[in-house]
Amino acid sequence: MRIFDPHIHMTSRTTDDYERMYDAGVRALVEPAFWLGQPRTNVGSFTDYFDALIGWERFRAAQFGIAHHCTIALNPKEANDPRCAGVLDVLPRYLAKDGVVAVGEIGFDSMTAEEEKAFVRQLELAVEFELPAMVHTPHRDKEGGTRRTLELVEASGLAPHRVVVDHLNEMTVGQVAESGCWMGFSIYPDTKMDEHRMVRILEERGLDRVLVNSAADWGRSDPLKTASTGQAMLAAGFSEDDVDRVLWRNPLEFFGQSGRLLLDEPGEDPGTVPGGPPTFEGNSILRGGR
């Protein structure tokens, strides 16, 4: 099983996780820029974080045989703090980088005017930089937030097939499916979605435009939820090719629209290299002690 986790916050995870992910088949991932738990109070905190996403974290992942990509944005929660508004001005610098495969996470948290302003501006940036957009749907009033999200996406001129609306559930998947946007599902131990509910949605709606992610971060979460969803699909009668489509080819297709993926040979099965390849993208990979 080869896995491309389209949404995971590796900054908050350990090297043990990278090892377990590699062993489970994860060969590529996208780390969306988001809230760190502790609110930031100035632009510099963001640029240091963005620099880590396009520098240190990319190197760290490569050491474990995993291609690291990211999305860059001012997240909705922190868009409410006027001290962070200047982040919008530094985004173009980052949106020009290789390996930055979308603008995100953008969207709504508490449905404020400030959130909507940052959301609209960043949809404009996605158009300008010819990048897809990753949209976070709120924890509270998810249905209302999703509805307003889709209205703003439509007004932006960004093609629906270049937008993933994430953290969906049974209540919100319908309107996103109708919009033509991609549907993102976060599989969590307690909240959001679980593997079996995910399988039921796949059975009902098919595999088109579906991204399954672990969204693992600093909270209770599990970076192997992508793999366990693959197992649940197989147990429910889906084929290995179906699993490959959902867990590898779909994220490759969506983020491939950016033209910024850092996979030298996308589509090649990297699972055939036992114990981690000696080189990856031409760079030495060191697993463990030096």
Partner: protein
């Protein structure tokens, strides 16, 4: 400028790129020569507009492309202006761009260019690719103290010492003493001693032939 040693000969790089992408590289280089202010805009996009991947003779295509862009800027900027622009490129760059700035400094080999502060930043990281690139020819701008610590850092993070410029010439007794202490510490912990550490000990052992 005394000399420029590019990562790949211009003709060979263009042969690897193929006609269309070679033309794109020529256009990027011409644009930077005409207006070096464009360097910061084209540097992040250079790999996408040309190619990424391995060079047949070793190294990476995108590194060779970006080093040509640095050389193009160096051909029209004063040394001070060049260092200022390269500092911005480095500090605003992703890891690939930072590595290319470091490689570019060593490619220039211009004694009027002092990018040592950029090298020192790279040597504070634990990114092996940056540490390695920082210890190329431009590391001659580092004072002995910083250079020795650069060599020791290479041993710590596993950056290969055959990529360190002027190692045999600059290795001195103090570096030998630092590496001996490093070896003792490794042995006390029951860990293996890297071959590169033994190389430094040989180079700094007064009883052995330094160049042997």
């Amino acid at each position: 400028m005394s000399s420029v040693v590019l990562l790949a000969r211009p003709g060979e790089l263009r042969a690897v790129l193929g006609a269309g992408r070679a033309d794109a590289l020529d256009a990027l280089v011409a644009g930077v020569v005409a207006d070096p202010g464009t360097l910061c805009r084209v540097f992040p996009t250079a790999a996408r507009r040309t190619a990424r991947g391995d060079l047949p003779g070793g190294g990476r295509i995108e590194d060779a492309v970006r080093v040509e862009l640095v050389a193009a800027a160096a051909s029209v900027l004063s040394p001070d202006a060049l260092v200022q622009d390269l500092g911005l490129l480095y500090h605003h760059g992703d890891a690939d761009e930072r590595r290319a700035v470091l490689l570019g400094l060593s490619a220039l080999d211009d004694t009027d260019v002092d990018g040592s502060s950029i090298l020192l930043d790279a040597l504070r990281t634990n990114d092996i690719r940056l540490v390695t690139a920082a210890m190329g020819r431009h590391a001659r701008t580092l004072g002995l103290h910083d250079w020795r610590h650069g060599v020791l850092k290479c041993l710590f993070v596993g950056a290969p010492l055959d990529q360190v410029a002027d190692l045999a010439e600059r290795a001195d007794d103090e570096l030998g003493a630092m590496v001996r202490r490093y070896v003792v510490e490794r042995q006390a912990a029951g860990r293996t001693v890297p071959d590169d550490a033994r190389l430094v000990l040989r180079l700094t052992d007064p009883t052995s032939s330094r160049k042997g």
